[in-house]
Subunit: 180 residues, 2 copies
C-alpha cells in the first residue's frame, strides 16, 4: 500500500462501490460489508448508513474510527461472505483469509488485499436516519494490483462489475477540484 493524497480519496467512493469497513474495539478487529455509502464533500467527508443491527456499529460508535477498504471483483465472494455473517461469533479476518495491516492514524486495520483503504474518523452520527458521517484522514492504494474493477451491489443479490471508463474531463473542467 502506497500513500494516496487525501484530496483524491473521494474518487474511490463516488462511483458507489460496495466497500468493506473495518473496526477495532481494542481487543479484536472486525469487518462489515456496506453498500449504502455516499460522498458528502471532496475533502473527503463520507456518509454511510449503518446502526445497531450491525455488530461492528458498537465499536464504530465507541472508538469513533473505522477504515473503508475498497475491494475488487476478484474478492466478491469474500465481500458477500463478510456481509452474511456476524463478528459476534466469527473472526472475519481469519475466516476470509484477509490480512489486517496497521493503519497510520486510526486503530482500525487496513485490509492488505484490497485495492485501497481510507482511514476515517467519525464526524457525526445522525441517529434519526442511522447515517454515520465520516472524515477521511489518510488514504492508501496498491498501485501494483492488476485487478482494479470495483463491484456495485444492486440490492437484489446481484452485483454490477465496473465496465469501460469514459472521459468527459474537458466538458467538466470547471467542476473538477484542482489537482484531481
Amino acid at each position: 500500500m502506497k500513500p494516496l493524497k487525501i484530496g483524491k480519496a473521494f474518487t474511490l467512493m463516488e462511483s458507489g462501490p460496495v466497500v468493506l469497513v473495518t473496526t477495532s474495539d481494542g481487543r479484536k478487529d472486525n469487518i462489515m460489508t456496506i453498500s449504502w455509502t455516499m460522498v458528502v464533500d471532496f475533502t473527503p467527508i463520507l456518509a454511510m448508513t449503518t446502526g445497531d443491527w450491525n455488530y461492528s456499529f458498537a465499536a464504530l460508535r465507541r472508538t469513533q474510527e473505522c477504515v473503508i477498504a475498497i475491494p475488487t471483483v476478484d474478492m466478491l465472494d469474500k465481500v458477500v461472505g463478510i456481509g452474511t455473517c456476524s463478528g459476534a461469533d466469527t473472526d472475519k479476518f481469519a475466516k476470509f483469509k484477509l490480512t489486517p495491516v496497521k493503519a497510520k492514524v486510526v486503530r482500525a486495520p487496513l485490509i492488505k488485499e484490497s485495492l485501497a483503504n481510507i482511514e476515517c474518523k467519525v464526524v457525526d452520527i445522525v441517529k434519526r436516519h442511522s447515517i454515520v458521517v465520516l472524515e477521511g484522514v489518510a488514504a492508501h492504494i496498491d498501485p501494483s494490483r492488476k485487478e482494479k474493477r470495483a463491484v456495485h451491489a444492486v440490492g437484489d443479490g446481484t452485483f454490477i462489475v465496473d465496465g469501460r471508463k469514459l472521459s468527459r474531463r474537458r466538458m467538466m473542467a470547471s467542476r473538477i477540484p484542482s489537482g484531481i
Copy 2:
C-alpha cells in the same frame, strides 16, 4: 413508463448511478445532475448531498418534492451538460431535448427519456451536512428500453459504465428483502 413496485425502487439507486433530479417551482421545471446519493432504507428512503450551491435546491426545499431519474450511458453528454450549467439562466429540458412527463404524486416532472424515475418527498434536510433525506413514493420504469447500462461518476471527470452482472442471490438469500 410502466409502474414499478415502490419496494423495488432502491435497487435503481444502490449501485451508485449518477442521476438526474428534477424539481418544479410551480412556474418552471429544472434538472440537476447528482452523483452523491445513497440508499438509507429499502422502503425506499434515499439520501443525497446538495445545498444552496445548486439552483434547484431552493425549489426542492420549498416544494419538498423532486423526481430522481436514472439516465443510461447513451445520455452521458446530457448528464454532464446538465451538471455544468445552471437553471438560473437555462431551460434545461429545452436545451438538452428532454421531455417532462407529469408525475403521479409530485409536481416535479418525470424525464421521459430516462430508464426509470422515482417520485420523492423530502423527509428531512440535515442542514449541518447538506444531506437531503427523501422518501420514494412512486416509481416508473421503461421496460422497452434497450440501453439499460447506468454510469457511475468517479469525480475526476471520468465515468464508469455498468459492466457485467454477477449473481450471488443464493449466498445472500437471508439478506434480501422478500419480493426483491
